[in-house]
């Protein structure tokens, strides 16, 4: 199949900084090449890919030292370019949010498919989608669809990671709880801290403090960090992640927002590390209760889950990860969705 993938231009593919969307695009695109497809990637020039790259901007927007960039204009330029070359592809796969590509391809929506990588509960999305109701969509979890039920959903394809990306560490975990991600209000690091305090376990927080989160961090979280039981270790890179997640007794994911997937959850599983997550967003779809972790609805339940961590077998966690969340599984499911779309076109 000749498939074009159209990536957002905010981060490079794969990302040099934080960026789950761009990592998934990188795994998907390389996996499709591996399986013999002719894949073209429209992305910024700093992409590293096995696909044919059409560099539509000299650099990802967030990595650009120029403070005056226009995401709107950059994406419009890219989409104009994609349309000029559209005839060369069997299918155009868009990874853009908020439908900015719909006006460009309204003459042949059936030859496109869109994976929105973010939450969909923005007030303006249903009205906008209703104006282009034929664009096929693929969700990253069933939960993600909920605010936009009426869309033309053709599949859910959960994210996956290369199996050799992370390996369980060879020794016993070190008995601390881990919190990894942005230190924003809706990720609820305060809940993680309370769970650790009441469990009597150490909590290590590895997190980026974004500009938006600075006030929240300094006012609410920093006073609870004592450097002994509750430790803040700053932002960590890919290479430190193995040690941080692999050695943890569990990852805490006590989120307060409808997270459509939560890549870090399956990263933890890749190390054999179970996850204690709030019953929100896609968590119940991703975590096998009592196998790869526990879904909880209160601090009490979370503390009880910590007590029951020894009941979970870390090898089983890793095996479940391999069975459910490999990049290969993800690539094959996308491929199946493409075939389904092509069959529709042929009919």
């Amino acid at each position: 199949m000749k498939i074009a993938h159209i990536a957002p231009l905010y981060e490079s593919v794969p990302p040099r900084l934080y960026g789950g969307t761009e990592r998934i695009i990188a795994y998907l695109v390389d996996g499709l090449v591996e399986r013999g497809h002719q894949v073209t990637l429209f992305a910024s020039a700093d992409a590293v890919t096995r696909a044919d790259l059409v560099p539509v901007r000299h650099q990802a927007l967030r990595l650009d030292a120029n403070p005056l960039t226009s995401p709107t204009a950059a994406h419009l330029s890219m989409l104009h370019q994609v349309r000029q070359q559209a005839d060369q592809f069997d299918l155009l796969h868009f990874h853009l949010s908020h439908f900015v590509h719909f006006p460009f391809f309204e003459d042949f929506p059936e030859r496109t498919v869109t994976t929105p990588h973010g939450r969909l509960d923005y007030a303006d999305l249903p009205d906008a989608y209703r104006r282009w109701p034929h664009f096929p969509m693929i969700s990253i979890s069933d939960r993600q669809r909920q605010p936009l039920k009426e869309a033309n959903w053709i599949a859910t394809v959960q994210h996956g990671l290369p199996l050799d990306l992370h390996r369980p560490v060879e020794r016993d975990p070190l008995g601390y709880l881990a919190f990894l991600g942005r230190l924003s209000r809706d990720k609820r690091p305060d809940r993680a801290i309370e769970i650790a305090r009441r469990s009597g376990l150490k909590l290590k927080i590895a997190a980026k403090i974004g500009d938006d989160d600075r006030t929240y961090f300094h006012e609410t979280i920093a006073p609870m960090i004592d450097g002994r039981q509750i430790e803040y270790i700053g932002e960590i890179g890919e290479s430190d992640k193995a040690e941080f997640l692999g050695n943890a007794a569990a990852l805490l994911f006590p989120i307060d927002w409808p997270e459509p997937f939560g890549l870090v959850v399956i990263e933890a599983m890749a190390f054999g590390t179970p996850v204690i997550a709030w019953d929100n967003g896609a968590m119940p779809e991703i975590i096998d209760q009592g196998v790869t972790g526990y879904i909880v609805r209160s601090i009490d339940e979370a503390v009880a889950a910590v007590v029951r961590l020894p009941e979970l077998d870390r090898r089983t966690v890793r095996q479940t990860f391999e069975a459910r969340f490999s990049a290969d599984r993800m690539v094959r499911e996308y491929e199946a969705a493409y075939v389904q779309l092509m069959d529709g076109l042929a009919r």
Copy 2:
């Protein structure tokens, strides 16, 4: 003429909060109705207008209490709606930035005209514009065009205000210098403070402190505010503006960015208040040197300009404002540009 105006959806038309673009749209649209045109305004439902309103969103985005809004989706929906009704109009006048409407109207760019209301020196704009090179554009100053010289500019129409909106106060000014606007780094309130200190005059700062500017304000500006010579009076509304600007010896506008117009500058003139402005952006086009104010390039020059303020006649400042910056003049110049476009279509 049957003219559609398409407003941004961030603020209401006219704005309830800060928003120069939406105020100008309100004056222009009402002025065109006054002159007998059939005008339709696409805007959020909170618009107050003499035109026929097509309410495309229940409320302006910034006034929406829902934190999850999608400006992209909201504008896409509106543009879809405009295109559906496009046949009803002789001309579509867009007040949107960054070309988001171009893909919708690429079949008949000659029946559209676009006034970009912001700065145009964003890295991504030239490349995007080159992909839709036929869209006629109207600048709000000649300086605004500079980063996008190659665009299809058909006119410059400077902003204007209704003559009865502001009236000079009936007594002598109170001898303070005024600073009005956002307290952001590139508006250079620090320069205003230094000018006042070295001139020995009072400076009154009326300004909004946006989220982005809080750190700058607290670290750089707040320590220089002594409450006696340098006074911060907070954000002021339309009704307080008359007193604030009308009683000032001069408005200081020591900007450090290529301001494409600067509405507050002609507001000051409407009160007969002269302006001391940095030689940047559109300032030399708007201020008549030695008549309505002084253009300066250094603190020394600014201090010298303060000394020479008594040489300026406040009645002449008001008269110059009336001659150059009335809403009526603006409306007639836009009308002339429309006629020019219609002539092109008829040929």
